[in-house]
């Protein structure tokens, strides 16, 4: 009986070898597939039980930090003043992943970033729990707060940039949401909050500054002006001043706002046309320049850039196809297919403020180690020379004239603002759809410290009668005042 017993022994060995072979296949060869499978919650859970790095404002105010708790996930993400900063910080949820900066810089915050490699090794040796690195944003906490408060009651956004560096000083968006509830360790609370925000028609989780683009309306006249100045025109060059024109080849009239006439009703200076925001002047001017020159100038301001990341990804801005003359006319006044994100509009204002030099907009000031030592610092990055310095100065003067010609409340005393308003029609039926109100500006005009773009969707409470000057300008001026007054 020993021979069959030995054979049974061989069979047993074979079974074990099969098991070992298969375990090797599952745990070594297929391991990565299984580990990274989105249905595998381990990696997520693991991350959520590690001490995540902080997100702090430029002055060190904590925006997102962790709090030790006594449950399975150990660390609770908390957001001081969550709704005001949510468009920047984003959220960090066990069920729904991360958004905003939490997602864009996830590797750094959860500690797996290569920049933290040396520290990870020392953590391993000293046996400390690995911690995530921290993020110091360029955001000015007080300014962000002021912008958020100014936007209460309307749907819109404010983006503020330091013209010389491209640092984003504020990026508020309303209505907002509270990332604290999304970070709750109570699954039901998370679920309820998420479904609530998701179903909300006002889209509170949308970061309007970078994830939505709008027709820029008259603010686009800055691009047309810049292109015209580049062509050798000056602020005194005479342009069309008629109160109404007809789009070429059609019977569609293109009037000025309230059918006002510019200059003498036949011609006006470029400066006056911009100050009064004459549609006819810029429509004709755009057609004169042609699609290519418009596109070139727009590109220099960053319109059309496909993969801008600050490091939040920014949806592209576009001029549209401009396939025929009437559409070039309409493009000239920022209508038709032109779409610009509030961020890019702010960049444009900042570029003009910076003497025509466009700086890369960014939100991350410094990358910090878990012990808050500086690992790296973002250097200002010059992207493009969008305008000659003297032309930028001319455009600035035109914008000062525009500001002086703009109504609306909240004018600041002692500060010269250079600005341009916009009232952008949109929707299927433009006559009965409330227009978006825009305001782009920088100040002080002589030595700019801040450039902003404000948009209030659908004119806020003003409805059909809303204009950039009446709705957006007061918000913009208040934000500028808050910034300049605070120093």
């Amino acid at each position: 009986m020993n021979t069959p017993l030995r054979r049974v022994g061989l069979a047993m060995m074979a079974m074990m070898l099969l098991l070992l072979g298969n375990a090797t296949y599952v745990q070594v060869i297929k391991a990565d597939d299984y580990r990274k499978n989105p249905l595998n919650r381990r990696v997520v859970l693991d991350q959520y039980s590690r001490e995540r790095g902080q997100i702090i404002a430029a002055d060190g105010t904590p925006l997102a930090s962790v709090q030790r708790v006594d449950d399975r996930l150990r660390y609770l993400r908390t957001y001081a003043n969550g709704p005001a900063f949510a468009p920047v910080t984003g959220y960090f949820s066990t069920l729904y992943g991360a958004g905003g900066m939490e997602r864009a810089e996830d590797d750094l915050l959860n500690g797996s970033d290569d920049r933290l490699f040396a520290r990870r090794v020392s953590d391993l040796i000293t046996g400390r729990d690995p911690k995530g690195g921290s993020l110091q944003l360029t955001i000015d906490a007080k300014l962000q707060q002021a912008a958020f408060e100014r936007l209460q009651g309307v749907t819109g956004t404010v983006v503020a940039i330091r013209p010389q560096t491209g640092e984003i000083l504020a990026m508020a968006s309303t209505p907002s949401y509270d990332p604290n509830v999304l970070a709750s360790h109570d699954v039901d609370v998370q679920e309820e909050a998420w479904t609530g925000y998701d179903a909300d028609e006002s889209k509170p989780m949308l970061n309007r500054a970078v994830h939505e683009n709008y027709p820029p309306g008259s603010t686009f006249k800055l691009v047309v002006s810049a292109a015209a100045l580049a062509e050798g025109k000056t602020k005194d060059t005479e342009v069309d001043g008629r109160p109404v024109i007809t789009l070429p080849g059609t019977n569609t009239p293109l009037p000025n706002f309230n059918d006002t006439q510019c200059g003498n009703g036949v011609v006006a200076t470029l400066q006056e046309a911009l100050a009064k925001s004459c549609n006819t002047a810029f429509a004709v001017l755009a057609a004169e320049l042609g699609a290519d020159k418009l596109r070139d100038q727009a590109a220099k301001f960053g319109i059309g850039e496909q993969d801008l990341s600050i490091p939040l990804s920014v949806v592209p801005s576009t001029l549209g196809p401009m396939s025929d003359k009437p559409s070039i006319y309409q493009t000239g006044i920022g209508q038709k297919d032109v779409r610009v994100t509030p961020l890019v509009n702010a960049v444009m204002a900042a570029t003009i403020a910076n003497g025509g030099v466009r700086m890369q907009p960014h939100l991350v000031g410094k990358i910090l180690a878990p012990d808050l030592q500086v690992i790296s610092e973002t250097k200002p990055d010059e992207v493009d020379e969008a305008m000659e310095a003297d032309q930028a100065q001319a455009l600035r003067d035109m914008m000062i004239a525009s500001e002086n010609n703009t109504g609306g409340g909240g004018k600041l005393s002692g500060v010269t603002i250079a600005s341009k308003t916009g009232t952008a029609e949109h929707g299927e039926d433009v006559r009965s759809t409330n227009p978006h109100a825009w305001y782009v500006a920088f100040a002080p005009a002589e030595k700019p410290e801040i450039a902003i773009a404000v948009i209030v969707e659908n004119g806020g409470q003003q409805g059909l009668s809303a204009t950039g000057g009446r709705v957006a300008a007061p918000i913009g001026r208040a934000v500028i005042g808050a910034y300049l007054g605070g120093r």
Partner: protein, 487 residues
């Protein structure tokens, strides 16, 4: 037959400890004690790691569990020293290590589940203390078997009784009404008496092995008679197929009545091996496997639960959150563990369903990695191989058959379990001997170990047969001696 014994055991230590050279082989109890101490050290280390990694302070619980475990080991060792002094010294340490590792894992899963349940205001009743209690009961039974059963051949006399009891135990849960034999997780294999429930199938496994060994030994000649010869195989005579058909019928009925594919497969495999070892003819195996295949195909055609198991085996990701959930989670755990594992206490056993019973090897694979799982498989292999060696070296055929069967049963069961959780074969849901939570399994398997040790004691103990009489020459060759009549 006895040659392998000296092969691996002839170490200097053995020679030194033997008191009466030439006659008494070494008992090797000191070797066993040394290895038990090693197992205890490993288990204690593992326990401390679990506690440390779960960031619990080293509580009294650890002392409690550790001391209980040490006490039980000591008792087991002393029992073997007293009642089976010549037993194989490797078997008990293997079992102790597996049992200890099982306790650690069950405790570890307790911690994880308590964490999961706590926030939802549910209470997880710890399984580890119960398992310690069961181990104590199992070891009592183990000692009793060693003491009462002084010669394993006694069992052969009760072969038919064992067979009847085994059969009853096997089919009982299937035929009893569900208030006493509830269907748990789709299998009707439990007998429930209030808070106390047993799985009679675990005991049936051993009882039926005793029966088959006794039956085959007594009727061995009958089965070695060849019938017809087909394609190089000597097929048995049709009228001798009775036991095989009976075993097949029992196997199928388990599958149908209890929906327990694992036990059915295990049972059938054991019968085949016993038949093969007893008759030394592969034809039985071939026939048996064919019959099993037919049975399996028919079962697959007829029963939904079999189809689901096969479907989940072929493509678990077809329904990852439904029927494929268990195997998918198991694969995720194994994959995340990878080569070296997440570390004891570092995995996510709460993600794996039935973590402390059917899927305990998946938890081991996650926390200890492929290396740990392979180590566990090798401990099983060593255990089974020592059992097989016992069978090879014991002198009586009943002991050979029973020993071989017991050893194979353990190896085959672990093949079915680990093969199931690693997707080598369809998932069937049986427990891993000594590792998994469960009283019945522990009791039955400790009886199995006691029987193996008893047989190995018989194999290695010095022969107790009377001294051979001096050989007498044939009558014809004997001297004629003059015997003087006493005066």
């Amino acid at each position: 037959m006895g040659s392998p014994v000296t092969g691996a055991e002839g170490t200097p230590l053995a020679a030194a400890s033997s008191t009466s050279p030439g006659l008494r082989p070494p008992t090797r109890r000191s070797t066993e004690l040394f290895m038990l101490a090693f197992a205890a050290t490993l288990v204690t280390g593992a326990l401390i790691l679990v506690e440390a990694n779960q960031e619990q302070e080293l509580s009294m619980r650890i002392l409690w569990l550790g001391l209980a475990y040490l006490g039980l080991l000591t008792v087991a060792h002393l029992a073997v020293r007293k009642w089976a002094p010549y037993a194989d010294p490797v078997i008990l340490p293997c079992v102790a290590l597996l049992n200890g590792l099982g306790l650690v894992m069950i405790h570890r899963i307790d911690l994880a589940m308590a964490d999961v349940k706590l926030p939802n205001n549910q209470v997880w009743s710890s399984a580890a203390p119960k398992q310690v209690l069961w181990t104590a009961i199992a070891l009592t039974l183990f000692c009793t078997v060693l003491k009462v059963l002084s010669d394993h051949r006694t069992l052969a006399r009760y072969g038919y009784t064992a067979g009847l009891l085994g059969l009853v135990a096997l089919v009982l849960p299937g035929v009893l009404p569900s208030f006493i034999a509830p269907e748990i997780n789709g299998a009707k294999i439990w007998l429930s008496f209030g808070a106390f429930s047993i799985q009679p199938g675990e005991f049936a496994k051993i009882l039926l092995m005793v029966f088959f060994a006794a039956f085959l030994v007594s009727k061995r000649d009958l089965f070695t008679i060849a019938g017809r010869r087909v394609i190089g195989l000597d097929l048995p005579r049709a009228r001798d197929l009775g036991p095989l058909i009976a075993a097949w019928a029992v196997g199928v009925s388990i599958m149908v009545l209890q929906k327990d594919l694992g036990s059915s497969l295990l049972f059938f495999g054991i019968v085949l091996v016993l038949l093969y070892v007893a008759t030394e003819r592969a034809a039985w195996v071939v026939l048996g496997v064919m019959m099993f295949c037919v049975g399996a195909v028919v079962a697959w055609k007829l029963f939904g639960h079999v189809q689901i198991r096969v479907q989940n085996w072929l493509d678990p990701f077809a329904d990852p959150s439904g029927t494929g959930y268990q195997i998918v989670q198991s694969l995720f755990g194994l994959g995340t563990g990878g080569l070296f594992g997440a570390g004891l206490g570092g995995g996510r056993p709460d993600q794996i369903p039935e973590a402390n019973t059917d899927f305990i090897t998946a938890v081991i694979g996650e926390e200890l990695g492929f290396v740990g799982l392979a180590a566990v498989l090798l401990i099983y292999t060593v255990f089974a191989m020592r059992g097989l060696r016992t069978a090879l070296s014991v002198r009586d055929t009943f002991g050979k058959l029973l020993g071989g069967g017991l050893a194979f049963a353990v190896a085959f069961q672990i093949f079915i379990v680990v093969g199931g959780v690693t997707k080598l074969i369809p998932m069937t849901g049986i427990t891993a001997p000594f590792l998994s939570k469960g009283g019945s399994s522990l009791l039955a398997n400790y009886i199995l170990v006691a029987l193996l040790l008893r047989i190995s004691d018989a194999a290695r103990a010095p022969k107790t047969t009377p001294k051979p009489r001096p050989q007498q020459p044939a009558i014809a060759d004997q001297f004629t001696v003059m015997v003087e009549r006493p005066k």
